[in-house]
Symmetry: C2
Subunit: 132 residues, 2 copies
């Protein structure tokens, strides 16, 4: 039961999702922070603990942490550890919002490429929303 007790086991990446592992880990951690389940100042698992718990390499965890540090969500201190930043929740939400904006921009570009009218694009989106 040792691996089952790892508190971040639910963040484990999967090749089936198509995204790089480091990206999946960063996304999952960002969501935890944005939801307020990780308080500012609290310590994250060390590179080794996280790597072992998520069954990935140490470097992959490092890249995920680097991405979050660039966004201002966490900060690292050599020899000490990695911690949730003070303004982490706002930074995480801003980063998540930027991701949505980028995805929407890509969708808009695809629609333009397809010669699709604005109204048709909006209709397609609302249709997808109601289809759930």
């Amino acid at each position: 039961m040792s691996s089952e007790s790892f508190p971040f086991a639910a963040l484990a990446p999967s090749a089936a999702r198509g995204l790089p592992f480091y990206r999946q880990i960063a996304d999952a951690l960002r969501r935890e922070v944005a939801a307020g389940r990780l308080a500012p100042g609290s310590a994250l698992p060390s590179f080794r603990d996280m790597a072992e718990g998520l069954l990935v390499s140490l470097i992959t965890v490092k890249r995920a942490y680097e991405e979050l540090e660039q966004e201002g969500v966490i900060y690292r201190h050599q020899g000490v550890g990695t911690f949730v930043a003070e303004a982490a929740r706002a930074a995480a939400r801003e980063a998540a919002r930027a991701a949505v904006d980028g995805a929407l921009t890509a969708a808009l570009a695809a629609a333009r490429e397809a010669g699709m009218a604005d109204a048709e694009l909006v209709a397609l989106l609302t249709q997808k929303l109601s289809a759930e």
Copy 2:
């Protein structure tokens, strides 16, 4: 002025767009077909002519053509050439529409990841549309 006279020069890929060259070429050709500027049955430039005209390798053109053939937009005949399929226009439009749908699905997933409400997502899209 020899390279300037190449009729498909406008389809030349650019590294600045971020997408693979073969994808850019396939997208551009698909748009030409969808717009009706390439009639069914007409011949496309040979791999070599296209590669020389777009300043890419022969293999890159091959991959672009392969993508379009899988969509049913064109068909290849060894030793003869590559031609626009009969149902090319409908196939191109369907493929373009599928691309929009995929991009919208990704945007929706990002919105869910960000905890964004449906109405907020729609509002963000309409805002982007009116901002142009």
